[in-house]
Amino acid sequence: MLAPWAYLAGVIALIGVLVLGVSGKGAQRWLALPGLPRFQPSELMKLALPLLIAWYMASKSTPPKLITLVKAMVLIAIPLVLILKQPDLGTSILIAASGILVLFFAGMPWWLMFSMISIIAACAPLMWFFVMHGYQKQRVLTFLNPESDPLGSGWNIIQSKTAIGSGGIEGKGWMQGTQSQLEFLPESHTDFIIAVLAEELGLIGVLLLLILYFLIIIRGLYMATQCSSLFGRLLSGSLIITFFIYVFVNIGMVSGLLPVVGVPLPLISWGGTSVVSLLAGFGVMMSMYTHDVK
């Protein structure tokens, strides 16, 4: 049972980031330990947290008692606060969601579910004043009205919407997207890659991708239900839904439905640690399916 240790290591690494982490783009997210490649401990947490919560919930009776849920939420809150401090709003929300999803699958009562959602909604204005950093507020303002600063913070979202919209139904063709090939679209390899796809392959390409994602998610959920242990079910279910949240948040932000948060498009975006944690998650799910089926 490695889960508590992984969690503990993750929490220590996150504290380490805050104390002696490396800064980049105004946030302190990286840990550069001698002898190891530079990495983001928050990525480690993406796996460690659902692991721990699944382990914890599986050790308790179902349906869970309220006190168990409260204790689990404290365990979720610790990395949440640490990552918020970096600051990294996107990742902290994703990690918290992965923890809460375990609780949801463990049988968290609906009334608690809905009251939590309402409390979060009510707290959102308070976040604006007490938690969010200047650049995060700017992102929200830009989300509400990108045209207010077309050359500054609004640039990304205007260009991505332009790329998507100009793609039309059939797209401009492979490598023919002017928005992306002429560098109007920023981050076209990483967070904004769906805009490139939408521009070059059109609505058809986007729908195909969404269907693929849906198939993966259904398959994941099916595999989760096939697990014989509660731990396996909780962990697999949480991981596959987190995967969906990635997809939803990323496409939502690039198409202007959601504010810009730094979330990659899983399995498509170019990038280091997030691929590692995602594929590790799939590995865990498949291992569960292989070894834990009744």
């Binding site: 179902t62 039309g168 928005q179 279910g237």
Partner: protein
């Protein structure tokens, strides 16, 4: 913890399954939301974003037309466009402007003023990705220094563009003027479209007068650029239409002759082609190099020009207003004849001064002992003031002033010389209106010798002389001879030709003026030596207004600056005049010794130089 009952596990699985199904439905709904959002952008708003995307990629770039060239009458190039290299910076491509500037300063000289200018331009009306000039007129070494280190200088470039150049430098600036950078005031006034790629505009002289024609029509390039503004290819091109070339009446050879003859003097020379009114010479001395103004004159150089006591920036040829003094006498003489106040035969006995009835004041002749018996011919030849006092008094200002007006005195008659002043032709009405005094007989006497209120520019004197030489035929003075392929401009300004009661009076006045040079007692008889043509002329010496006694200044300067101005008008050859000239030498005292030889040298160059 492994002790769960079978029923518990069944319940757990059931619970999980139901929640998984709920999630599947929710996920499907959310994916549909995303698909709907994408479809909305890609289908409903497709056209809008298609346009936006095209506008991103395609840019219309204005292309500046080449400015028309300016030639003198013999095809000598007076204004051309030569390539000049500027150091430019695109802010969007530079990481840190201050750092880049500091580094550039280790490579080449960037003055404080250049840096200030650059920062000012950087702040003001700049399009994104527009290159801003840091330094102009880079020499080859500087270009090399920058280009070699360009790898370390993203966003820095050396840009070649054509700039105006005046190969003849200082000798013709007072006629040509110059171009300079468009300033804020001009920018507000100009056609934004036509000048979208133009950096310079005519500021003075011909460059300003024919700005529209010289400028040409802006062209366009439809280019595909990437987000960094780099041009990837030209999709479509509308070539600019270059400005029209301008041929002037000006004769650069004569400008050079004037510059040479005027060396060391303050003053001006204007010469006019009698047959056309074309301005052959428009020269003011001292002069300055217009090339300094094109890319921005340095503060030190400019204040040097401004504070120079010899006023090089002052265009004496068209803005210097002097009492014409005795050079007015041929015109005055004709006015006496026309009014019937005198005839050629009438004589007076000059004892050296003239007195009005009821006035104790003595109006002195320049010659203390008087000229003795004089008629109009000898009065012109010897410049006898007493004769002119008497005749002016008899003719009265009401006859003199309108007649002088026919020669263009008192108004700016130039067709295409910007900023030319109109001098002052006094009259009874003028004095009443402007000075609130009535006209006195003494005023008439002063006017009778070209002094008093009367003021004329060298341009006006030359114009009047040309009309005189043409026997009353009027041509407004002009610089432009041909503009592109256009028909010559119609002389809209010209005055009616002057018709005398007796047209022989022209010849008689010519004779009198010829006698000024060739006669035994002519005031410019010193010019006769080595003169291979006949020249009709008139000298003048105009009093300089005395300076207030309580002012402090260098006594030597005072003495020099208080001397009389020397004036000289002439036309030649006297038998069949082709050129009329007016020369003024400030504080030159004796016209026969200063202004006269200048005119003679130039006329000699004009009439004989071409053959030799």
């Amino acid at each position: 913890m492994w002790g769960h009952s079978f029923r518990d596990r069944m319940a757990e699985q059931k619970l999980f399954r139901s929640r998984a199904i709920f999630m599947t439905v929710l996920i499907f709904a959310l994916l549909c939301l995303l698909a709907g959002r994408m479809a909305y952008l890609q289908v409903v708003l497709h056209e809008k974003y298609q346009d936006l995307s095209e506008n991103n990629r395609i840019q219309l770039r204005p292309v500046a037309p080449n400015r028309g060239l300016i030639y003198d009458r013999n095809g000598v190039l007076l204004a051309e466009n030569i390539p000049s290299y500027s150091l430019t910076l695109v802010k969007e491509r530079v990481n840190d402007v201050d750092e880049t500037l500091t580094y550039l300063k280790t490579l080449i000289d960037i003055s404080e003023r250049e840096e200030k200018q650059f920062r000012k331009h950087l702040k003001h009306n700049r399009r994104p990705y527009q290159a801003i000039a840091i330094k102009h007129k880079l020499d080859e070494k500087e270009i090399a220094q920058v280009m070699v280190n360009r790898y370390y200088l993203p966003g820095i470039d050396v840009e070649a563009r054509l700039v105006r150049h005046y190969p003849e430098g200082a000798t013709s600036v007072h006629a040509l003027g110059y171009v300079g950078r468009i300033n804020q005031k001009e920018e507000d006034r100009l056609d934004k479209k036509q000048y979208s790629a133009t950096k310079h505009i005519g500021k003075l002289g011909i460059e300003r007068r024919y700005e529209k024609e010289l400028h040409g029509q802006v062209g366009y390039q439809k280019v595909e650029t990437n987000a960094r503004g780099r041009i990837l290819r030209v999709i479509e091109q509308v070539d600019p239409i270059p400005g029209e070339d301008l041929v002037l009446h000006l004769d650069q050879r004569l400008q050079n002759a004037a510059a040479k003859a005027m060396k060391g003097y303050r003053g001006a020379v204007v010469a006019i082609d009698v047959a056309s009114g074309g301005i052959l010479i428009q020269y003011s001395n001292p002069s300055y190099d217009p090339n300094s103004f094109v890319t921005g004159i340095s503060h030190a150089e400019y204040s040097g020009l401004r504070t120079n006591p010899d006023l090089p920036l002052f265009n004496r040829a068209i803005r210097g207003q002097y009492p014409p003094a005795s050079t007015l006498k041929p015109f005055l003489g004709l006015s006496f004849l026309e009014a019937g106040a005198v005839t050629w035969q009438d004589e007076i006995n000059d004892k050296g001064s003239y007195k009005l009835e009821n006035d104790d004041r003595l109006y002195r002749d320049w010659k203390r002992r008087g000229h003795g018996k004089v008629n109009l011919h000898s009065a012109v030849m010897e410049s006898c003031d007493t004769y002119f006092y008497d005749a002016a008094y008899k003719t009265t200002v009401d006859n003199i002033s309108p007649f002088l007006g026919k020669f263009g005195f008192g108004r700016n008659m130039t067709l295409d010389v910007p900023n030319a002043l109109s001098g002052l032709l006094p009259s009874r009405e003028w004095k009443k209106k402007k000075r609130r005094r009535s006209w006195y007989a003494g005023d008439t006497l002063n006017l009778g010798i070209g002094q008093g209120f009367m003021l004329a520019t060298p341009m006006q004197l030359a114009t009047a002389t040309a009309v005189l030489a043409g026997k009353g035929k009027w041509h407004s003075p002009r610089l432009m001879a041909r503009l592109g392929n256009r028909p010559p401009e119609i002389d809209s300004k010209k005055l009616p030709d002057i018709v005398l009661k007796d047209s022989k009076d022209w010849d008689r006045m010519f004779n009198a003026m010829t006698a000024v040079v060739h006669g035994p007692r002519g005031t410019a008889r010193g010019l006769r030596r080595n003169l291979n043509f006949t020249m009709a002329a008139k000298t003048g010496t105009s009093q300089v207004v005395s300076i207030a006694q309580n002012e402090e200044y260098d006594s030597e300067t005072l003495a020099e600056r208080n001397r009389d101005h020397a004036l000289f008008i002439a036309f030649a050859p006297a038998e069949n005049p082709s050129i009329a000239i007016a020369v003024i030498v400030e504080n030159g005292e004796s016209a026969g010794r200063t202004a006269g030889p200048v005119a003679k040298a130039i006329l000699q160059e004009y009439l004989l130089g071409a053959k030799g």
